[in-house]
Symmetry: D2
Subunit: 393 residues, 4 copies
């Protein structure tokens, strides 16, 4: 029997459900070196927190995140609140010696993210670990893409194209949510979806962005207020019913060109206005010897082009990334059986627990999260200066 690892989850929206599922399922499929215990769920509203805890299987609840930080019997603080509160909670937790898993984007500002990365660096000296939750790295297909690129299968990288296309704001009557308010969400689609493609592009290519030229746009600048605060994490779907409207204070389209540290150019688009695209996180990396191409709407597949084989047999190979030898897959089902969105979260806590047990720093670190925040900030600054090229950091 493994030693327990007692988890407190702070927040219980959409990400709370995903993280809860991950903590519950991971030890059933992966041989974790520590045994996660779903100890404490924290939320602002006692009733709703209790209901979520009952539904998802958390033993205790609290309405005060400081309890998670201060209790002796908590080992990990898992943060899934809106970005504005990440810094305060994470820094307190790290200073209290708790390992921290924090949802992306790391924070709402570079300053916050810097403080968090500093806190993580200090904590690391005491064996306390911190990780930011870029879960899309953990899908078999994206990890396989990274492995192929790192192994030289596509040669030298020529170009990157990344996009994250959703359409839930196309309807001008889709309601306002905290994700559309600058003071809560920090930014709009840039921080939400843009952060994902920045991280994934950097992860798969193994290169950091060094400068950007960007444009931000708000196509619909006011929306109906929702009937209630809602616990849906802001990804509504319903139309607003009231007549009161509130201002959309964030971008709903973010476009930028980025240059990676070795000069490679990449195109990036994050949007909630791509009609008909439900969750199309797409990444294509072109190289001198091949290419990889991924689309989250078909997450069990990776397209791979081998430029080195016989010319008459070349084409994009649609790899169904469900073979036992593919990353993470061996722990699940026999070949050919699809995984889903939530499996990335299972892999995430698996990797996190493994790192915690080993006392080794997990990846992506808070420093990585800070660097993504710096890219986001550079895009914002570039957009404010006629899209002129702006260095990262």
């Amino acid at each position: 029997m493994h030693k327990p690892l007692r988890i407190a989850l702070v927040g219980h929206g959409f990400m709370g459900a995903a993280h809860s599922q991950a903590w519950r399922v991971a030890p059933r499929f992966f041989d974790l070196p520590l045994q996660p215990e779903m100890s404490l769920l924290v939320g602002r509203d006692a009733g709703r927190t209790a209901a979520a805890a009952a539904k998802w299987g958390w033993t205790e609840t609290s309405t005060n995140w400081r309890e998670a930080v201060e209790r002796e019997d908590i080992d990990v603080v898992d943060i899934v609140t809106p970005g504005a509160s990440h810094a305060e909670i994470a820094i307190a937790a790290l200073e209290a010696g708790k390992h921290v898993l924090c949802e992306k984007p790391l924070a709402n500002t570079v300053d916050e993210a810097t403080a968090m990365a500093d806190a993580a660096a200090r904590a690391a000296r005491n064996g306390v670990q911190a990780m930011v939750g870029f879960t899309y790295r953990r899908l078999p297909a994206t990890t396989h893409a990274r492995d192929l690129v790192a192994g030289g299968a596509i040669g030298d990288i020529r170009q990157v194209r990344a996009a994250y296309l959703q359409d839930w704001l196309v309807d001008p009557e889709a309601p306002l949510s905290w994700r559309l308010e600058q003071d809560k969400a920090g930014s709009g689609v840039l921080g939400d979806l843009g952060a994902h493609i920045i991280d994934l592009a950097q992860y798969v290519t193994g290169r950091k962005l060094t400068e950007v030229s960007g444009t931000l746009e708000t196509l619909v600048d006011s929306r109906p207020l929702p009937d209630s605060a809602g616990a849906d994490g802001g990804l509504g779907g319903q139309r607003g019913t009231g007549t009161a409207r509130g201002a959309v204070t964030v971008d709903d389209v973010a476009l930028f060109t980025g240059r990676f540290e070795d000069g490679v150019l990449g195109t990036f688009e994050a949007t909630r206005m791509a009609t008909g695209r439900k969750n199309a996180l797409r990444l294509e990396v072109s190289g001198t010897r091949g290419a990889v191409s991924f689309d989250l709407e078909d997450l069990n597949f990776l397209e791979f082009y081998d430029f080195t084989g016989p010319a008459d047999r070349q084409g994009f190979t649609r790899i169904m990334v469900t073979e036992p030898d593919h990353p993470y897959v061996g722990a699940w089902w026999p070949a050919g059986h699809s995984l889903g969105y939530e499996h990335g979260f299972v892999h995430q806590v698996t990797d996190f627990v493994t790192a915690v047990a080993a006392g080794s720093p997990p990846s992506p670190s808070f420093a990585d999260g800070l660097q993504v925040q710096e890219v986001l900030d550079s895009v914002t600054r570039s957009a404010a200066t006629s899209s002129s090229w702006t260095p990262v950091g």
Copy 2:
């Protein structure tokens, strides 16, 4: 707090893992009227059973399935053993008043299946429920296909084409497993994959097959014996290493044409020899007003053709069946987030528990399972008589 529903799972191969995951996860996403408890895991080998129970979270273990049947504190017997043992266990469980969920195919022979259906009918009079586990009915896309067809969206059915294509026997050195031995598996690909497409085609069309013309074939008639019995449920992947070989006593390709009760023709192919097809359960139903088309390798999608709209806009619409209004989806993630293979099992136990709580017969019933068995038997008989048309039953 709901009343508990205490489960005993008999068997712990690949299907044991899938069912365990379903019992664990279902109450976390669906509001079940009874609270499943993972009480007892039964397997032949004490050590391996204990290991599986620890991994999957079953409270107790036994090496004797009769314990599951006889214990007072068990409400449901969930059977995931090879087909040869289904009848004995299921009938005993039903007679002992246990609700039964039994993996497909219901049995290895029509006689066994008939006895099981009879036992289920008797038990039903006492409010004891029985269901056979055709899990592919429970995917959002397949249920949506059924709903569209039942609602008239494709008009009168013209034709059905069904196939279940896998390739794990293409390699002649893939090892022998119980799935390739007639005395254990009953039949080969016909009963394993063929049963799925028979059930799914009948479910989506709402029609039963009444006669068939079929062909069975064994392309590789001996294979290396595996190193050990293995707990993988027979879907190996490894190549055999020893020199000893055993006879393959079942079909590895099953082809048949079927006629449904209103005369509609369908084509059926079940094979483990379709190179490159990993898990391609495909169903297409053509009708006078439209068509639906599904492929399990892309299980979050349903293709729908509307023959009634403007001619210049017609085509197959690739519906991403991940919207809140789609079957089962509302309980999971926001729109656009993919589900996986295992979710069908979660839906299966959800529907089963709901029926048990309501005291209403779940579907597909053992009678449905028997009818599928009769189709399988008719195919076998047709194949033995020069593929001549053979009535079902």
Copy 3:
């Protein structure tokens, strides 16, 4: 300047247009050893024949096909009439020393086809060539598939699946055409579309079918008579407007299982009732080392699966068969530029002219056409005897 090759085209429906385009275009892209001259167009109605000749660029016209056979200044008789007249015209032409290109299916009956093959054999001794027009062999993707299979790229063949799906008869009010009358068309979808997949499957695999088990069905047995005879070759699209109806005397669905000469099984479906499938001729060949898969609706692509490479990179490769090294492609456009349906006809006359100039027998020969006719006949006989297995020939 090459020696002229004077062509007479008999018939001017849909196929007449396709063949005319082929004769006109082939010498502009391929270096033909003889210079085709579009000399004579033959049709029953003088006015419509003259109009077609003017449109398509034929120098002279006639209403009597015997003129094509008897004139000294005609070298080739190209036959695109309905099947019932193929034998008489082709045999007369061959006996008159004309090279013959005859549309598929070769004839409406085995007897006719036999007489034609005999005539072709006699003519061949005098250097007179005959070819049957299975044009789908001549697409770059299908020829490439054949080359891959012949070169061992998929190893030993395990299975074949072939289908030709159209939907122009789904509407019960689609008009009657000569293609739906037994006395003119010989058979229905079996001879029309079924002949194509028989030929293509045999061509790509390099194997002949030796026995079949088949089913034929007519789903709509009467249809409105068209307003006029029409020159559309019977592929209407319009709905009938009159109230008079005529009997459909041919099959609209043909299903069969076939066994090739080395025992390989194949499934075949030809239908005009596959709602939403416009021209889906599909062929997949599974082998021990790989697979090829083709769909005429995406005719510039061939899917190829290589079972011999690294397991983690396997998948169907979507080869865009538009590279200079691919069959026929070098004569056309730079890499990546799509060809269309009609290009197969251009390749057909190119191959035909090349064979005629070389004095070597073109392929597929009339004997090949006869063999396809025998397969069709065997399917019909099998269908009449409860789908029992029936030898070919």
Copy 4:
């Protein structure tokens, strides 16, 4: 019999073949109001010009383009030379009263294009017509996309994404061609492929670009000199064999964000470095009521998303744009039969001849071509000023 329209074609590379095929084929399928005659082919090298004329069917040849302009018996000058010579030839032809069809991009500079547009405007007063050859507008799928957008099927436009991806420069040893030399080609991928997506995006949306933020890049700055000048129009494929290298003086990647006249944002990428993408001109337009999506590698299809129908049936509909009611299709084959790359050129001359006969200005006009040139120029200027937003014109 229609009045003749005597054509002179100036240039005989890749585009010469495409235009020749168009002139030859168009009158065979479309009922043109004038009868094109392929009168004169002009090229610099007498021998190669004569060979091309013989191959493609031009009656006469010349090595001096002024002959085409000066001869009384020429009605149309069709210009397919490299961009540097467009202005001189086109202006002379227009001043001589010849109708002009000029390949895209209209010119190498805005100054040249302005002079050409001015000349066209003057000529138009005398009934002399001028058109620029953006052939991709003329595919059934792209024209259908425009019609859908213009008819309101996608509502108000939200976003545009356009890309033209090729990979023939990925290999650093691919030879230098005139397309890679600034003095001949004017620009690199921007003018060649970028011009296409600018025109197509503007055509389908019905909106002009008003400002851009762009980046140009040359990834490989020297390449082997080809063995000979070649007649391939610069789309080699072969690798250079010699040791001598020449400088690549144009961009091979062009990225820009554009704003249309009503504020809509679009992303644009033109590249010859997208490994595995052979001819992927892609355009997606997102609107409040739907979306259209096109890829030239699948040119017979248009994806259409209808945001107004039942939510549970929404998805991208893959329209096979081969029905008789689709643009241009009725003149060709029955439903379901694919067209190819060259058909766009046939449609182009059909539309051109129709406009000439009607005495009405064809579209796209030289003024349209100038506007595209202005966009290209703005991208270049933006790229030179840190990608800052730069007005068009």
